[in-house]
Point group: C2
Chain length 345, copies 2
């Protein structure tokens, strides 16, 4: 591993000249610059990251902390990769923490200056990592919305808004009876914040609009019975005309299979709207319209905030950045079947 001294020697100049050629922070004659760059290439010189940091006081590394690792989270790698991409675009690398002893890990990498900032994933309503953000001594941003966020910034989709938008959209299509399909993830306590944010807001908005909301039972994955679900909520005369899905794509897929076999076409017989999910990278048996989570958007905003805090010394503590939910039409929504028959409901 050649160092700056070797380059200087090879180019016949001093170390400071080499440094300045590389940083461009003062004017250098073309002749010396060429000699230096030539030596750099010949020796394959790359500055040592630690030594560089000792002066600049920035490691150009941000830490990313997933939640407890036992939480099933199929979109986790999307958040990892998007964070890494955005970080790299800003000249940063990403350090991946494990999720066990989350606070300890964050404290260690933050206080040892291994990382310049922290991104928190899988943030729960009562999140210890967020609550203790003040101790990190480094800027911290949550992807999610913890109750106690005095010392960190929060970036998330506006799930309360999503609930209202979902209710509006279905009501506008004449749906008056809706069933909410939820899956096992909800069984773990404390429930993941955003799922409940959406649920509560959706139910409130739906009731405001005189809609009836049924909720599927919460079961273990393996015990989920799509036939029972369809029989109970969709077949009866007063069954739902629309499904709002919050469950795992696979659970939804199973339901779609039963609907298909039973001749209950989507969207003619029943409309389906999936909320807070990420279906586009997932092989669904049928296109399902969706108000998705948006890892790319959230990670991008999180990195903007974080880099602003690190490099411009912005104080981002307590900042909240909720983004308006997007809607992707994949053709699984239509007017409610009664409304279709009876006219403009």
């Amino acid at each position: 591993m050649a160092g700056i001294k070797d380059v200087a020697k090879a180019a016949g100049v001093s170390v400071s000249t080499v440094s300045y050629v590389l940083s461009g922070k003062r004017s250098i004659s073309n002749k010396t610059a060429d000699r230096v760059l030539d030596a750099v290439n010949r020796l394959n010189y790359i500055p040592d990251a630690s030594a560089r940091k000792m002066r600049g006081h920035l490691s150009h590394v941000i830490a990313i902390a997933p939640g407890r690792r036992e939480v099933r989270h199929s979109s986790l790698s999307a958040y990892f990769m998007q964070t890494a991409l955005r970080a790299k675009a800003g000249g940063y690398d990403v350090l991946l923490l494990t999720g066990e002893d989350p606070v300890d890990d964050i404290l260690r990498v933050a206080q040892s200056n291994l990382a310049d900032g922290v991104v928190l994933l899988d943030v729960e309503e009562n999140d210890l990592r967020a609550a203790r953000a003040a101790e990190y001594g480094k800027p911290c941003v949550c992807i999610g919305f913890p109750k106690d966020h005095d010392d960190c910034a929060c970036v998330d989709v506006d799930f309360a808004c999503m609930g209202r938008l979902a209710a509006d959209r279905l009501r506008d299509l004449g749906h008056e009876r809706v069933v909410l399909l939820r899956s096992v993830e909800h069984l773990s306590e404390p429930m993941s914040g955003y799922l409940n944010l959406f649920r509560d807001s959706f139910i409130a908005a739906a009731e405001d609009r005189q809609m009836v909301v049924m909720e599927s039972e919460l079961t273990e994955y393996r015990n989920f019975d799509a036939n029972a679900f369809v029989s109970k909520y969709l077949i009866p005369k007063n069954g739902a005309t629309a499904i709002v899905n919050q469950a795992d794509p696979s659970v939804l897929n199973t339901v779609l299979g039963v609907l298909s076999v039973s001749g209950m076409d989507v969207p003619q017989y029943v409309s389906v709207l999936s909320c807070g999910t990420l279906l586009d990278s997932y092989p669904m048996s049928k296109g399902i319209s969706e108000m998705p989570i948006t890892p790319a958007v959230q990670c991008s905003r999180a990195m903007s905030l974080l880099l602003g805090a690190i490099e411009e010394h912005h104080d981002i503590r307590g900042e909240v950045d909720l983004s308006v939910p997007t809607f992707i039409d994949r053709g699984s929504l239509s007017r409610a079947r009664e409304a279709q028959k009876g006219g403009c409901g």
Copy 2:
């Protein structure tokens, strides 16, 4: 951020005493040790990672490099997390690279000494990252089995062996006609190495054993038609008595749905064996026996090799560590239906 000087001042000792108290590399009187540790706690002192590294020449960071990010890979986060866990157990942190410009990224972090070693994920048969491992100047281990692995170590499940074991197991149960279910991932060129390793070995072994292997068409996810698959390969008189699945769990799930609806019970009518998949964290509609990929095992071995190379200066270039496939019985295998009727085939 308190430094070692602050601690020394607060404890009324010299910096070297503080350093030695913390490292335990020479004996210290209890009295001073207590004073120092007290000061350390009071000031919340954590040594600076970069300064420490300047002496030790180890950053205690390993880089993990996923393949091209557009490759769908639902188990990616399992590899990330397992690597991070094993690394942390050895006192290392994990730096997550992005997958675009893979070689550039690796060169940068390796040559700048940001990372002490490299783990390659999503390794393809012709993998540029593995082929150029010599340039990294740091030990490198692949999870996967590239053709050119002169300059890195390889850790993987022995997929060739898995193919033989799968053929044996089915043949022992009297299955003579088997259909191989594969999914869209295979469409991208070059095909992911391990999928083909298994396929080729399975087909060869099956033919050795006088079995007939059919292969499902390769289609896009959204175009996969489970009904057509079942009609074509399972319903005919000379249809398959067993399915060997290499496809995405969701694709398999769809097939299981069709089988269930058609009254073709698993395993009474048709046996199912899933190979090279990771079903246990996945909500299948029915338990499926499996010879799975094993992220925890591979990551653990990869880290052992890597840390040995980093810390004991073992030369691991060219080493290949293939682990014997495991079998998980979830009750989806039984004797072939003809064999059941006709006796000991």
